[in-house]
Symmetry: C2
Subunit: 526 residues, 2 copies
């Protein structure tokens, strides 16, 4: 045991699972002695798909990302349903709920994020230990999914508080599966924090046409409850009551930082880590995923200016997980572990040459649902009609009745922001152009035709570019998926197993299927 | 002489010229004894092109529409530079300025319209006899064109008051020919009475990019004049002064109705005529063109509900001229003129079966200039973002920096109004769809691609439809122009001589050239 590096991972969500996946060879070789501590009863599963479980489209087992028994058989210690009481950095130990301790050489915090519980009369205001009444859920874990499932199955009334991507996706799915759904939100339209006026209005109109009732400009103040305390309705500050059988709180998430805070580690929005994903002031502690904020201590670091708060998206978390596991393995190799069984270096020169840097571009928000595609990225606030002195120009397509909208904000021809609703191919192309920084064609309207009736076989060059990213969650290119088809993968599941494409939000499944079909010239199964 | 019908035409503009053209066989056969009375020194010329003469792009002789000597040689009496003092309906005579009279069996009033002279300090306010100071012109006749020409040739400062189609076309032409041009107008943007906000803003931006300075939201109050009384600047109500060498008044036109009014004929905006183009209450008097308002006496007539004011466009005037001349000829034939030399019937059964009805559709406003195409038709005010209960939907494309804009207002899929700026092919297609009442494709954005780089060889079906109108002024179809090419017309001038296509505003010359080139597979001359 003394020849092994003791790595303790706190949290067992998708990011921890990815980290463990990549670290697995070191576990098998016994270079690493791994302990994983998860607070839920289930091993890691794809949290992005919890709403799909909730509406009955998929099952808990289908969204599993890790197999606890298999990990144990490889020699890892897997503790499920186990809380961590505190971290003793001096002794390099974590203290568990059951009173036992685990010692570490390296501690990886992957505690994720918790739902924001709004201040509403009738809700317990303690954010760390929310005790939600019957009929109220934050739709964050599999237990929440079961609650939603029961209401959807009896075609009940679901009230969703919050107009963000996750709330809208849940709303659309529940409505399509037969529930009556009302989304209650602050702004004039959903996604109001990210989208522009025109896009928001088109989005709202499509949502309504999909059977989702919208209560806009609403401020919720409290719950109405039955004699037994169960949710019966949401009271708004103007006196209106939105009745329902289930309230889904979809008010965003906040990084889970209290363990780190309790251990005296610097925290901002998330646990502050440097470009080695190592906590400030403690070379034995790391953080990845929704709980981690990459911001180094140097005030002049160009990568750490601007907003460094965790994105809440799975893609960056998975990148961090892979980077950190590879970094550990590199440290191990740098120490000649194979020959001498030496320890991983906790803060070594070999990892010092690698830097983890978050993508400079603002994240791309994608709403993928049956009957509605929407994507928003960058700064989309520019007024199309204003004269801009700085090379900014705006091109706009709106056909609200058809549910389509596109806005392209460019500076000197390069996209600075985009909105695309109801035009999935144009949206995909615009995202590629946004991320590549390419100059748009001077006839911007040419980008609209990708979704036209005649366009199905004439995707633009960049959409068929092998380097273009198809699965944004896992960062898998078209070329990699085509290669998987070449070596025989003939279903989405096989491609996912081989490349990880499609293992995140699942929004790219149709694209993967198309690529397989193009290769085999016949329909592909999921 | 007693066997001839005495037809007196008052006015010798393009509409009178077309009337005389079509009536010519009856003049040659001496069935009609024709007198034409024009107040200008010149015979009819294409008034639409006066601004082109003013900037030196064409010559007075090139825009001539009638040959007074030739008419005289056919037996007509042509009086140029001659005013009509009054009409004596009881005696069926017109009294001329020179004191002589002309008797008529039928009197055709083609007195056209006069420029509106705004109330400005320094301008003579008598609208019937405007005495404009030096350096001020209404750009309505060839004398006005000569005044503009002198200023453009020395690259002087031209101030245009009014943001309508004619003012903008003059502004663009003068700017391109080297003058410094300022357009002063009421609204937030030019064409404010017809266009929507978005289209107006794009139009304004294109005008600026073409070198036209815009003074918007302006109310002019008076002239600044030199010691000798010549125009030196236009004073606005907020105190600003717009200096210049020439003021072009482009404030619209008003039908010239005073002769008819003086003779006690009913007048509204124009001289009221029925569906025989005959004045109310006088079966010997007719009116055509800009002075005529087709509105019959029946309050229940569906064709005469709504706005019946003269359109001010050449196309309807020419249609009236042709209809009336043909109607006269039909009366003649119905009376057995050829056999017996009998008179035209003034109010006969043979013409009673024909009805002249103005097109039910609102007129299509087209701005055609080098570097700027714009078209507006119908009701374009609908808000794209509003929910419409009546099947109204709005689709919108805007790329202000590229100078392109399109708005399609539909009801149940049929265009009710359109705006198109900077997209000539899309504009032409939309006009065809507007006039045909066809249902738009559900993907409205497909209409934008006609102007794309790839679209040159893939015009839509309706644009290549032989029945589609190419020359809107003369109402000539694509098929007629193709037929002219088949029989040997190999230049625009030859096609114009053969079909009249291209004899109006000239905006279709490029289209005619394209049709010729497609037929001969080689470049065509003008």
């Amino acid at each position: 045991m003394s020849s092994s590096e003791r790595v303790v991972v706190v949290g067992f969500g998708p990011v921890a699972a990815r980290f463990i996946d990549v670290l697995e060879p070191s576990v098998v070789s016994e270079a690493v002695q791994l302990t994983v501590i998860g607070s839920e009863a289930d091993a890691a599963y794809n949290r992005v798909l919890v709403a799909d479980v909730g509406v009955g489209r998929t099952s808990p087992s289908a969204i599993g990302l890790s197999d606890a028994d298999r990990l144990a058989s490889l020699g890892a210690e897997v503790l499920l349903g186990t809380g961590v009481r505190r971290i003793d950095r001096a002794r390099r130990q974590v203290l568990l709920d059951d009173g036992t301790v685990r010692s570490y050489d390296r501690l990886v915090l992957a505690t994720g994020a918790r739902p924001v519980i709004p201040y509403l009369a009738g809700l317990n205001p303690d954010p760390l230990h929310p005790a939600l009444p019957d009929g109220v859920t934050a739709l964050r874990d599999l237990a929440d999914a079961r609650v939603l499932r029961a209401v959807v199955e009896r075609r009940g009334d679901v009230v969703i508080l919050g107009g963000g991507i996750l709330g809208l996706e849940a709303a659309l799915a529940a409505a399509e599966e037969g529930a009556r759904v009302t989304v209650v939100h602050h702004g004039d339209y959903p996604l109001a924090r990210n989208i522009d006026d025109g896009g928001g209005l088109v989005l709202a109109s499509v949502l309504r046409s999909q059977g989702v009732r919208l209560v806009s400009g609403a401020k919720a103040v409290g719950l109405e409850q039955s004699g037994g305390g169960a949710f019966t309705g949401l009271r708004l500050d103007d006196g209106r009551l939105v009745s329902g059988d289930l309230l889904v709180l979809s008010c965003g998430v906040r990084p889970r930082v209290e363990l780190a805070e309790g251990a005296g580690l610097p925290v901002s929005s998330g646990i502050l880590v440097d470009h080695s994903l190592r906590a400030h002031h403690d070379e034995h502690v790391y953080a990845i995923g929704d709980c981690a904020e990459v911001r180094c201590a140097s005030p002049s670091c160009g990568n750490c200016s601007g907003n460094t708060a965790p994105s809440g998206l799975i893609g960056p978390g998975w990148k961090q997980a892979e980077w950190l596991a590879e970094s550990f393995a590199a440290d191990l190799a740098g120490n000649g572990h194979r020959a001498a069984g030496g320890r991983l270096r906790a803060a070594g020169a070999s990892s010092g040459s690698r830097r983890y840097v978050e993508a400079a571009l603002p994240p791309v928000l994608m709403l993928k649902a049956r009957g509605l595609d929407a994507v928003v990225a960058g700064d989309v606030s520019a007024n199309p009609w204003a004269a801009h002195e700085d090379g900014t120009a705006v091109a706009l397509w709106a056909d609200p009745q058809q549910g389509s909208y596109a806005k392209m904000v460019t500076r000197n021809g390069v996209l600075q922001g985009l909105v695309c609703v109801g035009m999935p191919r144009a949206g995909a192309e615009l995202v590629l152009l946004f991320e590549s920084g390419a100059v748009l064609p001077s006839d911007r309207s040419s980008l609209l035709r990708l979704d036209g009736a005649e366009a199905s076989s004439s995707a633009s060059a960049s959409v068929t570019d092998p380097a273009s990213v198809v699965c944004r969650c896992a960062g898998v290119s078209r070329g990699s998926i085509e290669q998987a088809a070449v070596v025989g993968c003939s279903s989405v599941a096989e491609v996912s197993a081989s490349t990880r494409a499609g293992t995140g939000c699942g929004g790219c499944h149709a694209d993967i299927r198309t690529i397989i079909e193009q290769h085999f010239q016949q329909p592909a199964s999921v």
